[in-house]
């Protein structure tokens, strides 16, 4: 897979997806300022858009995604409906999960965004099961699971990687290393500077990529997806990126060196890619503006939709626990 295979059309799609994600999350930031409008902990992937967009764009529709607490980008890149996504984030009845997921547990099984867990490190064992089902059913689908650098310390991640390695499951582990786990640096929580190097111990390829370069992520994604799809077994991608907004919207980043923030701001995955597309003549200024405006309009509409939607009523609070509830 060489860079040349990225045709202009795809470039524009990658760019649009990142812009949409950014605008969508910026809207959440705004709304989070107003008390009561955004229930729960709003956790954004601002600065990490290239990982979500690049990786998800490398998938086929049949492929399964397992996400974590920093999930919005994964869902948007997958083409999830903005309105029902925003409404869900507001925990509204019209949300994609009827207001029962909230911002942290979004799932869109129709789009094969099968599950989201906010228990750090829980995604990989869930993904193991999904990938096993694909292998068992002899489909050509693969499963991708996103997790953080912090999650890599959880025992469950190890168990999943080991078993995926033994059974040669079509499972792509994507570690979004955003330089933080809460207020802890990788060197405080991870005994190796390069998580991808652990792959060897699980008999799978481990690769690292600049997570702020959407095409690099896409290209490596295509390569590793191909690897998994071919039946060779699991693979691990570590994407190096940065969490620009702190852990969540309540985080004021008092522990972050402003210089570090600045230096990563200069590596913004969207600004950088915009310049590249402008320079390469793939897009012009007018098109860039149109893309921004379109995204803003869609996001505004989604926010309005969410705002206008009611919270779920008392009649649904007890439902959906079981498919087959006790008859009594």
């Amino acid at each position: 897979m060489t860079e040349n295979q990225i045709i202009p059309d795809l470039r524009i799609r990658l760019y649009k997806s990142m812009v949409l994600t950014r605008k969508f999350e910026e809207k959440i930031m705004d709304l989070s300022q107003e008390p009561g409008r955004m229930p729960g902990m709003q956790i954004l992937a601002n600065g990490q858009e290239a990982v979500a967009t690049g990786m998800v764009s490398a998938l086929e529709p049949e492929d399964v995604i397992i996400s974590n607490h920093r999930s919005h980008g994964h869902l948007l890149a997958r083409g999830a409906d903005l309105n029902s996504l925003m409404a869900e984030i507001m925990a509204k009845e019209t949300g994609v999960n009827g207001g029962k997921a909230g911002t942290l547990h979004l799932s869109v099984p129709d789009l094969n965004v099968l599950m989201t867990s906010t228990v750090v490190g829980a995604g990989p064992p869930l993904a193991l099961g999904a990938a096993f089902a694909q292998q068992y059913k002899k489909t050509t689908g693969i499963t991708v699971v996103f997790f953080g650098d912090g999650a890599a310390a959880e025992g469950s991640v190890h168990e999943a990687m080991n078993l995926a390695g033994v059974w040669k499951l079509p499972l792509l582990f994507v570690c979004e290393n955003n330089c933080w786990a809460g207020a802890q640096r990788p060197e405080e929580h991870c005994a190796t500077p390069h998580i991808f190097q652990r792959a060897k111990g699980y008999d799978m390829p481990g690769r690292s990529v600049d997570g702020n370069d959407v095409e690099a992520v896409y290209n490596l994604g295509v390569e590793l997806v191909e690897y998994c799809r071919s039946g060779k077994g699991p693979a691990l991608m570590e994407a190096l990126t940065y969490r620009m907004r702190g852990h969540g919207e309540q985080d004021r980043q008092h522990y972050v060196d402003p210089k570090e923030l600045e230096s990563w701001a200069a590596k913004c995955p969207i600004l950088g890619y915009r310049q590249k597309l402008l320079d390469g003549g793939v897009l012009n200024q007018a098109q860039i503006q149109a893309i921004d405006q379109d995204a803003e309009a869609r996001v505004a509409a989604a926010a309005a939709f969410g705002d206008e939607s009611p919270y779920p009523g008392p009649e649904t609070v007890l439902t959906d626990v079981f498919v087959q509830p006790p008859s009594a």
Partner: protein, 327 residues
């Protein structure tokens, strides 16, 4: 009908389930190749019958085993996984409690998890508390999980089959001490419905509720109780969640007394729920204190005489019933 041991009945349930639904697979530590060669083991011979694709020996990784079941069930398979001994369910408890029990609710009903976890329970083999600890009340306290506990070969087969084809996550507790016990088992795909208790023997003075091995402790107590002129109604609970409330309440409304018996620690055990339920919903019918027979608040001991003290015996049942009768 044919005579089978409890373990063979479990084995038959797994065999039938795998035969009638190609989406059923089994996984766990040694479910394929086992250190035992005992036909009374639930998974005995399944590897030979169904092959390595559907009978999966796993690493010693309880969280991964549970995660495997979750992910696969969400994709439409019907996994049946094994946790070798009940105390090891702690290692799978995040997957079961925070995921199997919650993800459907949080999906707004979009996802379902038709998985079965077989967990082997029981005391009496001297292995100590890291191999023996009954944690059914943990599971029962966790929303979104069902849990059943067969006491007879017939129910071993019937409940396991129901669990496998139930659309929700079900934990099936297999009392290891019952594995060799013979009994009549109906032929074919005959299922015991979840949520239905079984009236084992009718009586008028006191209701005795038990499940698993404890049922036989209760049965042993019936004779001395009868000799003392006390007539007990015995209920085999079979299913803890869903719970057959009506069966228990009706019985207590008739007898006016309740004694619950289980092998788990009594403190905060499942018996507490039944006692509390009755002390609320059948209070007016109660003629005496609601009693619970269970283990003292210590880890399962190792030395045989200590293990014996730990395990509730028929004498304790007799004493409890007498106390419930005000004697």
């Amino acid at each position: 009908m044919s005579e089978k041991t409890f373990g063979q009945a479990l084995n038959e349930a797994l065999t039938i389930a795998m035969e009638i639904d190609k989406n059923v697979f089994i996984a766990g530590e040694g479910v394929g190749v086992s250190i035992h060669q005992d036909p009374n083991t639930a998974t005995h011979g399944l590897l030979e019958k169904f092959g390595r694709r559907r009978v999966k020996d796993t690493p010693v990784s309880e969280a991964a085993i549970a995660g495997l079941a979750l992910g696969a069930s969400c994709m439409g398979l019907r996994p049946v996984v094994e946790i070798m001994f009940f105390p090891f369910i702690t290692l799978a408890s995040d997957m079961l409690v925070n995921h199997a029990g919650k993800l459907r609710y949080m999906s707004g009903g979009k996802s379902s998890f038709p998985l079965t976890v077989r967990v082997r329970a029981g005391l009496g083999f001297g292995a100590g508390s890291q191999h023996s600890q009954n944690l059914e009340s943990w599971i029962a306290h966790s929303p979104g999980l069902k849990i059943v506990w067969p006491a007879t070969p017939e129910d071993a087969k019937g409940l396991l089959l129901s669990a496998i084809f139930d659309p929700d996550p079900v934990i099936v507790v297999e009392d290891m001490m019952l594995n060799q016990m013979p009994g009549d088992v109906p032929t074919g795909d005959v299922r015991t419905p979840l949520g239905k208790a079984r009236l084992v023997s009718p009586g008028t003075d006191c209701t005795l509720v038990a499940y698993g091995t404890a049922l036989y402790t209760v049965m042993e107590a019936l004779k001395p109780l009868g000799e003392q002129g006390i007539s007990c109604e015995v209920i085999d609970l079979r299913s803890l969640v869903p719970l057959d409330k009506a069966c228990i309440l009706d019985s207590v409304r008739k007898t006016g007394r309740l004694v619950v018996v289980h092998e788990a620690n009594r403190f905060c055990g499942f018996g507490a729920e039944l006692a509390a339920m009755v002390a609320d919903e059948a209070f007016d019918a109660l003629k005496g204190p609601v009693k619970r027979v269970g283990a003292p608040q210590i880890p399962v001991p190792t030395a045989p005489p200590h293990e014996n003290i730990f395990k509730p015996g028929p004498e304790e049942v007799v004493t409890a019933v007498r106390e419930a009768m005000g004697k």
